[in-house]
């Protein structure tokens, strides 16, 4: 279960504003990366984000480059989940592989305002916001398994150990 405060953004949030290209090699440690998350979109985000906070955005979140830092900087900043109308596909898999919940719940996005509280149950496919429940199709089981284990590498390690 994820519970947090909402940071709301628009359509086409691209990887250059999620984690600027100029830092991709200059800032490689998680604490450092967290300080620059969304820097060129919302300078207050990195200063004020709290663990479990949820990013809510429009269409095509994470478009642009394949840089994984766009997902890992949000993990490092403690973001609990990203909810969007849709995701750019490379960002989506970078998120899942790093254990960051990325959910497409288009019908909920417009109703949610910055600073609102939301509650998410990814396994059951339920989003709660201001007394209203939004149902969404749970992610494919293969993807949920990766998320439960905290990302692709821990997931495969566990799987191989089991088969081992």
């Amino acid at each position: 279960m994820i519970k947090g405060r909402v940071w709301k953004y628009g359509d086409d949030v691209n990887t250059d504003v999620i984690f600027p290209g100029r830092y991709t090699y200059a800032r490689m440690e998680p604490e450092e990366m967290a300080k620059h998350a969304l820097e060129d979109l919302d300078p207050n985000f990195a200063k004020e984000v709290k663990p479990g906070d949820v990013i809510v955005a429009g269409k095509n979140f994470g478009c642009g480059s394949s840089r994984e830092q766009a997902a890992t900087c949000l993990v490092a900043a403690g973001v609990g989940a990203v909810i969007a109308k849709s995701f750019a596909r490379i960002f989506f898999r970078n998120a899942i592989n790093n254990g960051l919940l990325a959910l497409e719940i288009p019908e909920a996005v417009d109703a949610i305002q910055p600073g609102d509280e939301v509650e998410l149950d990814p396994e059951a496919g339920i989003l709660r916001h201001k007394g209203k429940e939004y149902r969404f199709p749970p992610l494919p089981e293969a993807v949920l398994e990766i998320l439960r284990d905290g990302g692709l590498i821990p997931h495969l390690k566990k799987k191989l150990a089991k088969e081992g």
Binding site: D16, S66, F87
Partner: protein, 416 residues
């Protein structure tokens, strides 16, 4: 039920049921990393699989193209981290003298019709140009692909696009590409594969196929696939030395989520204005705007044919006073041919500055960035704010770039 092109490629590389929406395990013919993210791939690999070997060093590659040769110590360090890892593992490195990795993979015959390829380049789906599945991914994915030779992938739906009619020069493959990006928009094909058909598409040479497939990412697509063409076969046979490839084609009863049709008979030279690649206009609408810098190159328009066209236009003339024309051939092979056929001399005489094969201005790498207010015309594929510097960036064809460099302002090649 019939299969689309991507479904055909996936079915040949997976034991799982291939159907749109299903997550499958996909066997990979090539696993690669660039200098961008390569060091992080190595770091991830060493942390997750200490002391272990890559699944198959013969199918694993590094391609250095972002910052080549390195002009920052940080990049040099990261390239060296990759080289040391490559030596330990017996992996081939296409080093800083090679050119754009995706192009090198095609020229070397490592990406061939029907192949599956992953790497740390968000434009790796450009490999659709040779009928291969290419996909850009993050560090964890690539470290995993290095170790196990496979990846998980959600089978996408496919959109079928038919382009009716033919255009004539000075309309070029880049204009066709920008036209489709404009029609579909940045999310028009989000998460889908696209197949693009039509007489004009079948007439494209290899450089044109590369240009068209290179901007699938700007439509949000997983990748773009085309029917085979004569130019393709000549290229593939030279690259691989083989004649026995069967090109993946869609079944007549393949299922598409969407079918679109466009006519390009009246297509005019197009240009993308800031701040994003789907902000497409006819060049004539923006004619006369001042241009400070013109960049010719990138995975989209860095082929021999692209740069030769610019040289042909500039032959015996000079770029406008105050305009800097930057040229970066895509690969060492392209560079060598342009040199030996003396096209680089033509460009030099016209006032161009020519750099080594690389992603150059497109990857915050070589051949300079733009300062605030410095207007750049680029043959690249993205113009998001900050990507190529502080200045506004327009995207256009090599012909439009050359015409604009001559006059120092946005100029349609129709005026030449």
């Amino acid at each position: 039920m019939g299969r689309t092109i991507i479904e055909k490629i996936f079915a040949a590389h997976s034991e799982d049921e291939v159907a749109p929406g299903k997550v499958i395990w996909l066997e990979l013919d090539v696993r690669s990393a660039r200098d961008f993210a390569g060091a992080n791939v190595v770091k991830r690999f060493r942390a997750a699989y200490p002391g272990e070997r890559v699944a198959d060093p013969k199918k694993t590659f590094f391609t250095f193209d972002c910052n080549a040769p390195a002009n920052t110590i940080a990049y040099a360090q990261n390239q060296q981290v990759c080289r040391v890892f490559a030596r330990e593992q017996g992996i081939k490195v296409y080093d800083v003298d090679s050119g754009i990795g995706s192009h090198v993979l095609m020229e070397e015959g490592l990406a061939f019709p029907g192949a599956t390829v992953v790497g740390t380049d968000s434009h790796l789906n450009i490999l659709g140009a040779v009928g291969a599945f290419g996909q850009g991914m993050g560090d964890v994915d690539i470290a995993f692909a290095f170790r196990y030779g496979k990846t998980w992938f959600e089978v996408p739906h496919t959109t079928r696009i038919v382009v009716r009619g033919r255009y004539e020069y000075p309309v070029t493959p880049k204009d066709l590409t920008l036209f489709l990006v404009g029609k579909l928009g940045s999310r028009g094909a989000l998460g889908r594969a696209v197949e693009i058909y039509g007489e004009q598409v079948e007439a494209l040479d290899m450089a044109g196929r590369i240009t068209l497939c290179s901007m699938a990412t700007e439509m949000g697509a997983i990748g773009a696939f085309l029917p085979p063409s004569e130019g393709l076969w000549a290229f593939v046979e030279e690259a691989t030395g083989r004649h026995d490839f069967s090109y993946p084609t869609a079944d007549p009863d393949a299922e598409y989520i969407q079918e679109l049709e466009f006519d390009v008979s009246d297509l005019k030279p197009l240009i993308v204005a800031p701040p994003r690649p789907d902000n497409v206009h006819e060049v004539s609408e923006l004619e006369g705007e001042r241009v400070d810098t013109v960049f010719v190159g990138s995975c989209t328009n860095g082929r021999y044919e692209d740069i030769r066209l610019v040289a042909e236009i500039l032959k015996g003339r000079k770029v406008a006073k105050g305009v800097i024309l930057k040229v970066a051939p895509a690969t060492r092979r392209v560079w060598g041919r342009l040199l030996k056929e003396r096209w680089l001399e033509v460009l030099h005489d016209a006032g161009a500055v020519i750099t080594h094969p690389s992603c150059a201005g497109c990857a915050q790498g070589q051949i300079g960035m733009t300062g605030e207010g410095e207007v750049q015309l680029s043959t690249g594929n993205r113009n998001f704010p900050g990507k190529q510097g502080k200045g506004p960036t327009y995207l256009c064809s090599p012909a439009t770039a050359a015409a604009s460099a001559l006059f120092g302002k946005i100029t349609s090649p129709e005026r030449l």
